[in-house]
Amino acid sequence: MSMNKAQLIAWLGKLNEVYADKKEYLTELDAAIGDADHGINMNRGFGKVAEKLPTVEEKDIGTILKTVGMTLMSSVGGASGPLYGTFWMKGGMLMGGKEELNSEDFAKVIEAGVEGILQRGRPNLGDKTMYDLWAPVLEVIKEKAGNGDDVLAIVDAALPVGEKALADTIPLQAKKGRASYLGERSIGHQDPGATSSFYMLETLKEVLS
């Protein structure tokens, strides 16, 4: 099964609801080790994305993804604005003219997105950032796509890996972002950026199921 445009639009629209719902939780995670705005920022960003969706739902998938990237970049701010903005934009740059994403396309979108996060933020594994979630998740996605699994099966396989990666951020000491200033006090808290990234996967599964 590929992922069609209606599902992509549904995913993005649903993310707006998810971040509205998780606004306080993400902000609490951020208050523990950052500056208490991650939930607020994600909520604002995807609120803007939801406003934009009707203007691009007839366009190709590349345009939709790039619009999401630009919208997040220009409305989120903080570190997550350029990171998520680049994530969606890089995927969009590869998908010009596409009306649906097969499993190979899907893997390419995520891979380009994660490369974008690497270019912009230069994280290393174990720095306690969203990259600690995306690195292992990308591996599974590439592997499953290589086997020819459909998109739902890929996401199904990626979720438990993401869940574990998310829990694995808890004992880490942050080395990037504002959390890094807390030194050892950042240990014992789940990373907010990895958490908001995990919701993307979780929501995609709901939409595809």
Binding site: D35, A36, R185
Partner: protein, 352 residues
Amino acid sequence: MKKLINDVENVVKEQLEGMALAHPELKVNYEPYYVVRQDAPVKGKVAIVSGGGSGHEPMHGGFVGKGMLDGACPGEVFTSPTPDQMYECAKAVDSGEGVLFMVKNYTGDVMNFEAAAELVASEGVKVQNILIDDDVAVKDSLYTAGRRGVGTTVLAEKIVGAAAEAGYDLEKCSDLCRKVNQYGRSFGVALTSCIVPAAGKPTFDLGEDEVEMGIGIHGEPGIERMPLKSVDEMTQYAAEQIIDDPAYRRTVREWNGSEWEDKELTDEPFAKGDNVIAFVNSMGGTPVSELYAVYRKLDEVCKAKGINIVRNLVGPYITSLEMQGFSITLLKVDDEMLKFWDAPAQTPGYVR
């Protein structure tokens, strides 16, 4: 939460609207947000643009005006502005001589300003990003995002702003800004947390008898929590963190006109006989009278260490909303910096 707010969603917008009304010498743009001098772009002059989250009053909007900034990009409260703001602002103030982005070292600010510099450069505008990273509470950059940009930002905006006004070109402004940053060091202390409007409650809980040492400017907790001490003890602690701070080396990324280049920079420690500007800043909730109590002790510590305070600045210039507390910045100065420090400036938040 008790604050002078109508609607949490519109905090920054309504404050900018009020600022525009109170200061007709400024021009405020709303989509996207930025503040520029009414007379920008100033012919033949390098444009100095700064930016960062809102809530650090009066910067940066309050420092826009003759002798300081050409433009400022306010983000949401404690959230860095976005690349489109910086891009539009740079285009509005560039006279052809180029734009210097003064960036405080926070992951979000750095990434957004980098994206903006790429955009601005792609249109043929000369641009440079210079980082301010002066917070000695952060000990190294190997295990953190590096030192935060705090009080030295204010002094750099004044000094480099005056240099630009005096006709320095982009390269000389950038060199001077780098030098001010390398000669400036800061340390902050919090007695209370602040309340981010959108969060609606204090960012951290601090006991009646506790203080946070080594805070930044975003309501984030510091590096260490301590039992409350006298103002003399707290001041001495903060001043010694700054004066006794050893050499600090790190790699910064600067734009070379076509790509990002890593640069190794080392800041030398203070030495006996250094002339400094001493800046005692309120985090927002501490009255100026209490800052003078800090200054009193700071003067004593500096004298004991052979550091000469040749100029000073005392007041709320880089706040963290209504947080009670203070920060100290010492900037080693030479004749070039002093000349520009003493030059006239006409802005809402700083007049000389």
